[in-house]
Symmetry: C2
Subunit: 202 residues, 2 copies
């Protein structure tokens, strides 16, 4: 990256490349740099002038997508019953994840796991805050580390995105599956697992 301000046409090229890369990877997680350059209407040389390699491009696309995810989730009301708030968080997270289609698959295939995890800093903090509140109020289990429960939430959401991509899970069944899975996973031993429908009907 240069420290000089980017010329307007360079900025436009970068935006076009990121936009095209997002759309192309959402359809085909194995799309090549050539596919992306073609979709962006720029040459390979121009693309490589801005992004050193395919992983750097995927990384920039993921960073941009996560900023969008974060903006959507920031607007959510997570007050009230922690279990009902978790269902709202899962629904909203899934709706915004859907915009990006197979990008989750592309990220996991192209980037080191630690980098994928690091890109999820803000959503992870939000989930952690809600899980901590649910634990403090006795609604969520405290017999396992909070960080493990947050990791499970992240992992289950990504597994759902992969299962939808593989055709194993219907797109419109995924949000319910994630929420139902997470409520079971978070319920303290000795307590009754809540029903997702009962929490959302009001």
């Amino acid at each position: 990256m240069t420290t000089r301000p980017l010329r307007a046409d360079a900025r436009r090229n970068i935006d076009a490349i990121l936009e095209a890369a997002t759309a192309t990877l959402a359809r085909d997680p194995d799309a090549s740099v050539n596919d992306i350059a073609r979709a962006a209407g720029v040459g390979r040389v121009t693309l490589y002038g801005h992004f050193e390699n395919r992983a750097a491009l995927v990384s920039a696309v993921v960073e941009r997508a996560m900023a969008d995810v974060d903006a959507v989730l920031q607007a959510l009301d997570l007050s009230g019953d922690p279990a009902a708030a978790l269902v709202r968080l899962v629904d909203a997270t899934w709706a915004v994840t859907l915009r990006y289609g197979a990008l989750v698959v592309a990220a996991e295939r192209s980037l080191p796991a630690a980098e994928v995890a690091a890109a999820h800093g803000a959503p992870r903090e939000r989930a952690q805050w809600l899980i901590d509140r649910g634990r403090a109020e006795g609604r969520f289990r405290t017999d396992l580390p909070a960080s493990w429960l947050v990791t499970s939430l992240h992992t289950v959401t990504h597994a759902a995105a992969n299962s939808v991509y593989d055709g194993e899970l219907a797109t419109d069944a995924a949000a319910h599956a994630i929420a139902a899975t997470m409520l079971g996973l978070l319920t303290p031993p000795g307590e009754v697992v809540p029903d997702v429908a009962a929490l959302t009907a009001h």
Copy 2:
């Protein structure tokens, strides 16, 4: 791969390479082909004569490890209460996973997700069988697809292996965390989440 029978020294080289690759990747998931050749006491050329590239070598190591995992799990008694049987399955799976250290991490970094999933065919079928039985007996939830529950079990186990590698989860806490997480995840809505300790104490 040649169709002629391998000469005894070629067979010995392959065994030495697979043994060294397993031990090396268990310690360092990013170990290079050079590191592995050195540990096996063979030259790079010999190694590449048997394995086309690093991914092919990792793939062969994973296949061999999964055969070992399967042999251990085949000996398990999975009769009786499905929830208690699940705890035994998780404990045994985790104990054998531990033998392979960071190999899970290496596999996920080096191989396409579909290939990692395909390598788990036999353990996945065993988990599917137990989950189906638990569903038929009313012990496990039937409001989510069985394949999704099996995927969750696989995903949570791999997340635990990664969390132990990252130092987020203590090695000796992982089997309990996976079992407790899975029992919560499998409990039908409206039912009480069982306690792992209560299931194993007798």
